[in-house]
């Protein structure tokens, strides 16, 4: 049985949200929603898994902390200890108060950039990538919902989408 994707355009986010809820109650999965701004609460309705990008940021941050610690220990304590301004540098713990600012900055640097790079790669957003929205109006004021279904169910679903207030329906 061949699959078909129904593209339904809405003029507003509330009818789209209501329709998505109805589809969920009928056990029909919404494939994706494209909108000009984040619709709050849509993730739970269409079953978007919670992103783990914040966990990545934490791991990148810890990495930054470790790298900075290692760098300063190596340069100031191990490789070439220098007594600057009477600040003892014979052991890491003696010198550590002066290292805190850079440790903090390196943590933030790695967490922020690591997370941003992960975000752009995970969403596959890079210079030169083709626009991902199927309809250019969805960055302006239209809301697009895509439902993938079997050929035989399409009339059923189309009725739900239409009743929910879809202004245009097309098949891809």
């Amino acid at each position: 049985m061949s699959k078909v994707a129904i593209h339904a355009i809405y003029d507003d986010e509330e009818p789209l949200m209501a329709t998505a809820k109805e589809l969920r109650s009928k056990g029909i999965k919404v494939k994706d929603v494209y909108s000009p701004f984040p619709i709050h609460g849509i993730d739970a309705v269409i079953g978007t898994p919670r992103t783990r990008i914040a966990i990545c940021a934490f791991i990148y941050g810890i990495t930054g902390t470790c790298l900075a610690t290692l760098m300063m220990w190596y340069m100031m304590i191990h490789d070439w200890p220098t007594d600057v301004g009477g600040k003892p540098s014979f052991a890491y713990y003696m010198n550590v108060p002066a290292f805190i600012p850079i440790t903090f900055e390196a943590t933030v640097l790695c967490a922020a950039h690591g997370m941003a790079i992960t975000y752009y790669l995970r969403c596959w957003m890079l210079p030169g990538v083709k626009a991902k929205n199927p309809d250019p109006r969805t960055t302006d004021d239209k809301f697009l919902m895509i439902v993938e279904t079997k050929e035989e169910n399409k009339n059923n679903i189309e009725a739900v989408l239409k009743n929910g207030g879809a202004s245009e329906i097309s098949y891809k």
Binding site: F37, D79, I102, M115, G128, N133
Partner: protein, 467 residues
């Protein structure tokens, strides 16, 4: 949809639809530039070019062409550096701290405030790179192995902390700003007609499509970046203040410096945001988005931070007397009554007295008055940094090394040049970038838009009557 109390004033005026917001935001980009824009750009570019000439002259001849001398070895360079870095702080405060506090009024101003941050930090970087004297050796600032010319850098030094703080601050602000810009670039891309514009905005928008999954990640990334930027912004000016506070120079060696610098930074930054926005909303007809209420909110931040700065000045004075250390006492006596008393007086008037006028609602909602005040605050904050640096250094421990400082035309030229550069970049930004975060703004239209609020209020009343 989120509902908002009727008592809160609307943040988007007029009868706007989502499409109307799009139209209003792209108008400056798709339309022709006005003659005011060209006039401002010409003046800015002339200042910028003059600054480049003075900068080249400095590099070619050496920093002997500045007014800095053997006593006053930090002068306009560090004054301007601290001033510009401070200005940048408002952008991060608006975009990060106000995001964490879920302040919706940030959405109309965060984009341009962050742009301001980035350009201000670029201006600051010029001074800090030049003041080393031999800028071609500035790579020594990085932790490079000894065979590159020097020993390992000294991580005990606040100047080194500064290198890490400022470069982290700049790059993280840039990423934060750009991540927010991507959906708006996509909006311009999707409606662009000219092939060149289509191509450029396609490249800039990274293929953004706005699927629910991507919005979900986008929001998470914004939130975490805000959470990271908040301590970052406070750390940056704290570290800048330790450049002074960890020295043993009387008048600098004070623990109050970090909070006092941060408050001053936010204070001057908000003033600069006001200067820029008051011009921008007028030229691009953005009065419906950057409303009087937005201006009032910013003026309230100015009263709060201005008062913190005022308290800090008085605390410093009190502590210098109460400490019983005569060097410390002299440092402050010299600031207030010494050869640079006029700079101290300007600082006190502009920063402590004048912002208190904003307690009057009439004044803080008056645009002309706000504009004049924003300039006064910026002048005042420049004098604050000047007062900390020059009067202190011109009267240090050895009276034999006491001398006055006079800026040369090169000092003035480089400073003017950075102001020119700042405005050139900002004007180009307003012409080619979406100056308001339209995607975010659309998400609050139904809770904070005037039309929707009024409809909701009318509906609410009829509902009450029915009971």
């Amino acid at each position: 949809m989120q509902h908002e109390s009727e008592i809160r004033e609307p943040l988007i005026l007029g009868n706007k639809s989502y499409h109307q917001i799009t139209e209003d935001i792209v108008k400056p980009i798709e339309g022709k530039a006005t003659k005011y824009w060209y006039m401002l750009l010409t003046v800015s570019v002339i200042c910028f070019l003059w600054g480049i000439w003075c900068l080249s002259y400095t590099i070619g001849t050496g920093i002997g062409v500045w007014g800095s001398n053997n006593g006053v070895d930090w002068a306009w360079d560090i004054t301007n550096f601290v001033w510009w870095i401070g200005i940048g702080h408002a952008g991060t405060l608006i975009s990060a701290v106000l995001l964490l506090f879920r302040q919706k009024w940030r959405m109309a101003i965060n984009r341009s405030a962050e742009a301001m941050t980035i350009f201000a930090v670029m201006c600051a970087a010029i001074f800090v790179l030049l003041h080393t004297g031999r800028p071609w050796l500035d790579y020594w600032l990085f932790p490079l192995p000894n065979q590159f010319g020097s020993l390992w850098v000294n991580f005990n030094s606040p100047l080194m902390w500064d290198v890490f703080a400022v470069s982290t601050y700049f790059s993280v602000s840039l990423v934060f700003w750009y991540t927010g810009l991507v959906p708006d670039f996509a909006m311009i891309r999707d409606r662009a007609v000219k092939p060149m514009a289509k191509k450029v905005y396609s490249l800039l928008s990274f293929g953004w499509g706005g699927s629910a999954r991507h919005w979900h990640r986008f929001e998470e990334v914004s939130l975490v970046l805000a959470g990271l930027s908040t301590p970052l912004v406070f750390s940056v000016h704290s570290i800048v203040s330790t450049d002074f506070a960890t020295s043993v120079v009387p008048g600098w060696h004070t623990t109050i410096f970090p909070p006092y610098f941060v408050a001053g930074a936010v204070f001057s930054g908000f003033a600069m945001v006001l200067t820029l926005l008051l011009i921008m909303r007028k030229i691009y007809a953005l009065e419906n988005y950057i409303t009087i209420k937005h201006i009032e909110y910013m003026n309230i931040v100015i009263i709060v931070t201005g008062s913190i700065v005022g308290v800090a000045y008085l605390t410093e004075l009190f502590i210098s007397w109460y400490s019983g250390v005569e060097y410390e006492q002299y440092a402050f006596l010299n600031r207030a009554t010494g050869p640079y008393w006029w700079a101290y007086a300007a600082m006190m008037t502009c920063n402590v007295i004048s912002p208190q006028l904003f307690w009057f609602k009439k004044l803080r909602t008056n645009l002309t008055f706000t504009f004049i005040m924003s300039i006064i605050v910026n002048i005042g904050m420049w004098f604050e940094r000047f007062v900390i640096i020059v009067p202190t250094l011109c009267r240090t421990f050895l009276p034999s090394s006491w001398n006055m400082y006079h800026p040369t035309f090169v000092d003035i030229g480089i400073y003017t040049g950075t102001i020119g550069m700042f405005f050139t970049f900002f004007l180009l930004f307003t012409r080619y970038f979406p100056v308001i975060a339209q995607a975010e703004l659309k998400s609050i239209l139904k809770s904070s838009g005037q039309e929707f609020k009024e409809k909701h209020a009318a509906h609410g009343h009829s509902h009450d009557a029915a009971h």
